[in-house]
């Protein structure tokens, strides 16, 4: 079981969850964040701080967001475009930094204007 970042994060990355995550398991691609399912300890601290309400416990995922469950995992287990091997479980997002690349599924989501993002603190 794990928490999952869904489509409302895409192009509206606030990183509030990154600061809150006690095990630093939320990694940054290019347009979205991804939760490393093996590193996630299921504490749920990320959920209430996300201004986009993008994070769900896997059992609570709305039907339309279900593909993100596997997609979050793919970010770590599949070799991302332009990289030579899967990211795996680095044990912390801070040293890894922003990867600048997304999973093919997230990359294929139409771009969203920043004006459609939720204002932080709203």
């Amino acid at each position: 079981m794990t928490y999952v970042v869904t489509e409302t994060c895409v192009d509206c990355v606030h990183r509030s969850c990154v600061k809150e995550c006690p095990v630093d398991c939320i990694y940054e691609g290019a347009r979205s964040l991804y939760i490393q399912p093996e590193e996630c300890i299921n504490c749920g601290a990320c959920v209430p701080v996300c201004p986009e309400e993008a994070i769900y416990f896997e059992e609570d995922l709305p039907e339309s967001s279900l593909p993100h469950l596997n997609d979050n995992e793919d970010f770590f287990t599949q070799t991302l475009p332009g990289r030579s091997e899967p990211l795996g479980s680095p044990g912390g997002a801070a040293p890894v930094g922003r990867l600048g690349v997304d999973t093919p599924m997230v990359a294929s989501i139409p771009h969203r204007a920043a004006t459609l993002c939720t204002e932080a603190g709203e």
Partner: protein, 456 residues
């Protein structure tokens, strides 16, 4: 991270308390001032505070946060651990202020609120914390015993601790056996005769303080029916609006309503979630025989009012779980009304309201007993950024010899333990666990902990 000046990089900082708040403060210190030296003091030979002694045993995945918390001690020099050192007895505030450039209090909330109703001190009525200490193998509860022979048990309160206690009472013994509880605790759960566990919440289901993460734990109870009466599952118009705009609350209410509608399945144990009920008095001559509850009604402002309608339940065991509470530390300022160490963003305030030089606070002692483990990361980051800014404003460090504190402890005959000692005890507990096919088996007696830690 703030750019640390000269005063921060040569500084030595003492952190009192090795729970999540203290250890996140350590991480934050290392990240913002790479040259800093940190000593962490704890009254027990085991670190991790409530991660080890508060997070319920059936939540081993959350306990794996220790993987991150322990990294600060890896090199063994920059951050030192002094276990089995009690603040105010073995080491005083004045000692720390003399030996360190700054002190961070991360002592948590070690007390507990009472109900203030008749009968609360009868045998059979306990603080939830006593029970949590006991099943978590806390040395403070090493002499306690809970026989769990009551068929009905009531838990008063609607926070995460109350849910933990309810869940632990309702689990099948096999589920408890898959946890790290001490052997004698497992035996007590194997002998449990509990059939009905009542959770009594003063306010409505939309006001309950527990988080969806904790409530969801009920889904893992395989031999339990969750009972919610229709009259307890109603929401006021105001509640509906709040639920609509608060996602955590929505998740809670969705789960609770689903359980309320589910037909009972004839399971061996039942959890009764009672909302809008207030305990009026605990019944019994020589020990608990029941509890009288008064029906509350919700007012528009979110408060409740008693309706005078009474109901009697017959639990022979009652746990009050209405909030942990920080206790005053010897010689350290304390805000009695707020039950915290008074502070401004983590800078300790004297009781006069002036800033106390070189003293800081984080975690529950700073903000009160709320939030989850992750909350301590940002909370400690705030405290440490202020601490580091204050140190950076200084031109030099106190320059205390790191060995001086050791000499002081030895002189006082304090049998402190080190990080290597803890790793020895940790390893022993893991071995005990492996032998029984369990994740770990905790050692709960302080003397044994110390012997095993020292390899005696």
């Amino acid at each position: 991270m703030s750019d640390a000046g000269a005063g921060a990089n040569c500084a030595r900082v003492a952190v009192v308390g090795a729970g999540p708040a203290g250890l996140y403060a350590v991480q934050s210190l290392l990240a913002s001032a790479p040259g800093i030296g940190v000593d962490v003091f704890d009254r027990l030979p085991a670190p991790y505070g409530l991660v080890r002694y508060g997070v319920a045993p059936d939540n081993q995945k959350i306990k794996s946060v220790t993987r991150v918390l322990r990294t600060a001690f890896d090199d063994g020099k920059q951050v030192r651990f002094f276990g089995n050192v009690r603040f105010g007895r073995d080491i005083a505030r004045a000692d720390l202020l003399e030996h360190y450039d700054a002190v961070v209090y991360a002592t948590g909330a070690q007390g507990e609120r009472k109900l203030g109703i008749p009968g609360e001190n009868l045998p059979g009525s306990y603080g939830a914390k006593d029970f949590v200490d006991w099943y978590s193998g806390h040395p403070d509860a090493a002499d306690r015993h809970f026989d769990l022979h009551a068929s009905q048990v009531a838990v008063i309160g609607a926070g995460n601790v109350a849910l933990d206690v309810v869940r632990m009472l309702a689990h099948s013994p096999d589920k408890i056996a898959a946890t790290d509880v001490p052997d004698r605790v497992l035996e007590a759960f194997r002998g449990s005769r509990v059939t009905d566990v009542y959770l009594i919440a003063r306010r409505g289901l939309a006001q309950a303080k527990f988080t969806p993460e904790e409530l969801r734990g009920f889904n893992a109870l395989d031999n339990v029916d969750v009972v919610i009466r229709p009259e307890d599952a109603v929401l006021t118009a105001d509640d509906e609006i709040r639920v609509g705009s608060d996602r955590q609350l929505r998740t809670n209410v969705t789960m609770l309503r689903e359980w309320a509608q589910r037909p009972l399945r004839g399971k061996a144990r039942r959890i009764h979630l009672r909302f809008l009920q207030r305990p009026v008095r605990i019944l019994g001559e020589n020990r608990v025989e029941g509890v009288v509850l008064e029906r509350n009604e919700m007012l528009a402002d979110g408060h409740v009012r008693g309706t005078g309608k009474l109901e009697t339940l017959g639990p022979a065991m009652i746990f009050r779980s209405v909030g942990y509470q920080a206790l005053r530390l010897p010689d350290v300022p304390f805000d009695e009304a707020g039950s915290i160490i008074p502070n401004r963003q983590g800078r300790v305030l004297q009781e006069s309201g002036e800033l106390a030089q070189g003293e800081y606070v984080t975690g529950w002692a700073k903000r009160g007993p709320c939030g989850v483990i992750g909350t301590n990361k940002s909370d400690s980051a705030e405290t440490v950024s202020n601490l580091v800014a204050d140190l950076a404003a200084r031109t030099s460090c106190r320059g205390s010899d790191p060995e001086a504190i050791l000499a002081l402890l030895v002189l006082r005959g304090v049998g402190y333990t080190s990080w290597a000692d803890w790793l020895r005890l940790d390893d022993h507990e893991m071995q005990l666990g492996r032998r029984q096919g369990r994740p770990r088996v905790k050692v709960a007696v302080l003397r044994s902990m110390l012997e095993l830690a020292r390899g005696a």
